[in-house]
């Protein structure tokens, strides 16, 4: 069935290509949209023709737009959040290129989560998508006063935090490894610093971030649950700017400026924490090491009006150590080279060459012996992405992506053990895709597409085949030979029907396939988590999601209300046997178990995007379950991230020109966990008896945060502001861990101990600009 749908879509795609050739009677208006002050290209700016209500286009990732129009006189309206709308009269008697520069609004009405146009959510077919405005997240209170992209997206419905002090997140019942996190197109395998307290994204270097909850267009692929697409700033091509921050936790500095005015620019941004400096001051912890640093760099160069090159890189590393005896360090390196080419005024091409590397090292030293564990995942990635602005009604996007993965699982070396040199396994992931945005009528928009993803095992390693946990045969793939190939078709469709100016309904279906899998020993994300590719036993994970949605303006159009319901079915989910040692076992595949999953839920979001009060209320009602052969007597059980209710309220209020206040409230049902049902005594020790997996609940989690910002008088030279924030206002001791142990005063009695991480965390920040 899936194959038939795919074929049908391909045919439509080919037709749109042909129609573009035949529709030569229209003219083309194309160009780019930029920020007037900095020259940064503006993503998702809306270009509209006032005289033709159905003609409009959204600028792409590089600010490019193209519109096919009949000959005539028009008023072009260009708009983007946070910018003054520009209206320009044009006379179109031949195809022309116009670059628009938008002026930033000088009022402080930035909103955190925004669609690019007031009525945008009503007309776009895309579902389950939210864009984070980086400039505005500084007003949302966060722990330690460090604004953080990953913490803010966790306040959206359908996105759940992996817990306090953890940047991991779960989208619509998926695992933390089922999110595709892209930084300038490069996959980031571990998006956390300091064991999860911070994300790898330095907000000063980030331009924009979009999260798509499962219904991503077919140019994205490789993960089941979501795509978090993070774009770095390009750098100011008008003027040199230095931004800096000095804090107790971290310091950061960014430099940006033009390489050639109006044409090319660069940005360099670095950050380092120094909690270890304080540790050094104490006698007890003076040998301990605890810090991270990261560096973002990007440059772009405009060769001519049709060609532009972008080079961007990220380098980050964490170091943690206890004296000479123990050390762990990990980090990501990513690099992207992109070449934008405007082939014609209707055809835009981007070619990307991407490198990504994640590795960790653990060092253990014990007197004369030492011991190291390390693991690495390396990707080399080539992508070509074409956008064809076929005609007023159709925009076609197609391309291919080929990734060479090299995955080296945990490798142990040292004086006391048998050092086994592991070269790692190679896998080749290929994809071709095609997606068409079709404006069928003034009211109906359809995005449909197809992705064909393939994963090929490559030579150089031995693959065991297991039956019931026992090796049944073994395949040795010679270097530079190819093994099994998995091929999957991923059809995707979303439709939007606009009932009137205030209401629209949406529906969508998407299949996502994942070829890389994360094996984690701990519930929280840990740097030593292992990635593994498909093999003869491990099959690609598959998720099918259907969703329906309704968007309407309410309360005199001051609020936007969005609701979406989804059902997701997951195949080839991976877990491992009870008591498995996934890090030391000689072949981790011998301890893996496979099964299925299902997730369904209802998400409600009420947003206020304008006025003195902005913010949103989000609520999610959901269920997430797994059924794995060999776990919980093969019955369905709650996934750990199954939380029935999840509420988040975010409000920002401008009291007057000087003061603004903001607050965040979150509530969620406790995680599904397994408490003991009983106990017994063996050899003088208390042991616990367990029944069904994850049948119990942690206590409910809730918290209120508050912050106030005071803007001082602006003078010509100096501008300062104070920010006061309090995390966990009413000091709730939210459970981080529940443990059962013998009462030290009466060993026959069992104590249930709740460990909480933070009670109150106040912070004060002073910012000034000159």
């Amino acid at each position: 069935m899936a194959k038939k749908i795919g074929f049908f879509n391909l045919i439509i795609g080919v037709f749109s290509l042909i129609s573009s050739v035949s529709a030569q009677s229209t003219l083309v208006l194309s160009g780019s949209v930029r920020d007037k002050q900095t020259g940064e290209s503006l993503i998702k700016a809306v270009v509209r023709i006032q005289e033709l209500p159905n003609a409009g286009i959204i600028s792409n990732e590089y600010g490019f737009y193209s519109l096919s129009l009949p000959k005539g006189n028009y008023s072009v309206m260009v708009s983007q959040v946070g910018y003054e709308t520009l209206v320009q009269k044009i006379k179109l008697d031949s195809s022309i290129t116009i670059n628009f520069s938008l002026q930033t609004k000088n009022v402080l009405k930035e909103v955190v989560v925004e669609s690019s146009r007031k009525n945008d959510n009503l007309t776009k077919a895309q579902m389950g998508t939210e864009t984070i405005n980086m400039a505005a997240i500084s007003k949302v209170p966060v722990i330690f006063g460090e604004k953080d992209l990953l913490k803010t997206i966790q306040l959206l419905p359908g996105v759940k935090s992996a817990g306090e002090g953890n940047s991991g997140f779960f989208v619509r019942g998926g695992g933390a490894d089922q999110n595709l996190i892209l930084l300038d197109e490069a996959p980031v395998y571990n998006a956390t610093h300091l064991l999860g307290f911070f994300s790898t994204f330095n907000s000063d270097a980030i331009k924009d971030a979009t999260i798509i909850k499962g219904n991503s267009p077919s140019q994205y692929g490789g993960r089941l649950s979501s795509v978090l697409d993070v774009k770095m700033k390009e750098g100011n091509n008008q003027d040199y700017t230095v931004n800096g921050g000095i804090g107790l936790i971290s310091s950061k500095v960014s430099i940006e400026g033009p390489l050639q005015k109006n044409k090319s620019s660069f940005i360099l941004s670095g950050r380092r924490t120094y909690a270890d400096v304080f540790l050094k001051a104490t006698e007890k912890f003076k040998d301990n090491i605890l810090y991270f640093y990261d560096l973002n760099a990007k440059a772009n160069y405009q060769i001519n009006a049709k060609n532009k090159i972008y080079v961007s890189g990220y380098f980050g590393r964490d170091e943690l150590g206890l004296g000479q005896d123990f050390g762990i360090d990990w980090g990501n390196k990513t690099g992207t080279i992109r070449w934008n080419k405007i082939i014609s005024n209707k055809l835009f091409l981007n070619t990307s060459f991407i490198y990504s590397d994640y590795n960790y090292n653990v060092k253990l030293k014990n007197g004369e012996t030492n011991f190291n564990i390390n693991s690495e995942i390396k990707d080399v990635n080539l992508k070509q992405d074409y956008t064809l602005y076929t005609n007023t009604q159709n925009t076609l996007r197609f391309g291919f992506n080929t990734i060479l993965h090299n995955i080296r699982p945990s490798t142990f070396t040292g004086t006391v053990i048998n050092s086994v040199a592991k070269t790692g396994r190679n896998g080749l992931e290929n994809a071709v895709y095609l997606t068409n945005n079709y404006k069928a009528t003034n009211q109906l928009t359809i995005d449909y597409g197809m992705r064909l993803s393939m994963y090929t095992l490559m030579g150089g390693d031995v693959y065991n085949i297991y039956q019931n946990g026992v090796v049944s045969s073994s395949i040795k793939l010679a270097p530079s030979s190819f093994g099994k190939t998995y091929a999957n078709l991923e059809p995707r469709i979303t439709t939007n029907f606009r009932i009137d100016d205030e209401k629209s309904i949406k529906a969508g279906y998407a299949r996502n396939v994942q070829h890389l899998h994360l094996l984690s020993n701990s519930v929280a994300s840990s740097p030593s988590d292992q990635w593994i590719g498909n093999s003869y036993n491990i099959k690609p994970e598959i998720a099918d999601q259907i969703s329906v949605g309704y968007v309407t303006k309410v309360f005199k159009s001051n609020f936007e209300f969005t609701t979406e319901a989804y059902y997701k079915h997951l195949q080839n989910q991976i877990d491992y046997k009870d008591g498995a040692e996934i890090n030391t076992v000689s072949d981790v595949e011998s301890v893996l178990l496979y099964g299925i999953g299902r997730a369904y839920g209802l998400e409600l979001l009420l947003k206020k995007k304008e006025g003195r009060l902005t913010g949103w209320i989000g609520y999610t009602l959901s269920k997430t379950e797994r059924k794995i052969e060999g776990i919980n007597e093969n019955n369905w059980y709650n996934a750990r991230q199954d939380r029935t209710h999840d509420i988040s309220v975010v409000g920002i209020y401008d009291l007057n020109a000087r003061w603004s206040i903001s607050g965040v409230f979150v509530y969620n049902t406790g995680d599904a966990v397994t408490y003991p049902t009983g106990k017994y005594n063996v050899q003088g020790q208390t042991l616990y008896q367990y029944a069904a997996r994850n049948a119990n609940r942690m206590p409910a989690y809730h918290r209120l945060d508050f912050s106030a910002t005071y803007e001082k008088n602006k003078t010509k030279r100096m501008h300062g502001s104070w920010n006061f924030s309090l995390y966990n206002v009413y000091g709730r001791e939210n459970a981080y861990r529940i443990s059962f142990k013998d009462d030290p005063n009466d060993p026959t009695r069992t104590q249930i101990i709740r460990t909480a991480l933070f009670k109150w965390v106040p912070s004060v920040t002073y910012q000034f600009k000159f």
Binding site: F144, G145, G163, T241, G245, I246, G247, I249, K284, D287, L322, G323, Q324, N366, T415, N418, N521, V523, K577, D578, G579, E581, T584, V673, T674, Y675, T677, G678, Y680, V682, L687, Y688, Y690, A691, R693, N696, M698, P699, E733, Y736, R737, I738, F740, P747, T748, R749, I752, I753, R754, T755, A756, L757, F758, K759, V761, P762, S763, F768, K769, F770
Partner: protein, 264 residues
Amino acid sequence: MKKILFIVVFFTIIFIGCDKEITLVLDDNKPVLVIDGSITDQAGPYFVQLSLSTTINNPTRINGVNNARVIITDQAGVKDSLQLVSNGLYKTQKIKGMEGGTYNLEVEVDQKKYTASATMPLKVNFDSLRINTFPFNGEIRYSVIPVYADPVTLGNSYRFIQKINDTIDPTFHVFNDNLNNGKVNQRPLRGGDDNLKIKPRDNVFVEMQCISNTSYTYYYSLNLQSGAGPGGGTAPSNPPSNIEGGALGIFSAHSVQRKTITIR
């Protein structure tokens, strides 16, 4: 350089939350039979302890099961009916434990049958104990290393019971040879319990058991049961064992060697 933006965080005070005892409403517990039996290469008798599990709120103690029929047979055809000593503790009469021997346990309680089979692995010589010191947060910590040469064949497992001046270390110390197959062991017994720090002049007693891989997984899983929640370990479950029929516990056949060292 027209614009310079500086952010100064003046102070951040963290009030760290702490551990607190709470009460929870827990699911009703179904009492389950617990079997803890072993055969060693030492002279008999050997013992099998039968008990019933209880609820979390009841006091922890051995609730002995006294109405069972307990039989151990070996591959030579010796059949031993165990005798009740007291409170669910049963004692062998004639069976003799030997390296390489396979033993079958059969327990019958209230018409329900439980079985287990265990083979005693070949003994690996316990050569000596040695002292290991390491600096930790500005002080010297001690641990002991059991010295033995792991055989070249893969798949050896060991359990160590450590006593510090007659106080039993509650950690289940189990080693396997996944990483150091065929090497002389240099891994110390590191206890997780801070109350059980080893100090100079302490006497440290270590019993080394050569155990089966099944027993290894059993004890290893018990160590993983470290609490629930984002800060806990993996989802805990009853440890996998060799007992068939729905009882908890383990039936182990292992060799025993003992050594003592005084910390200097």
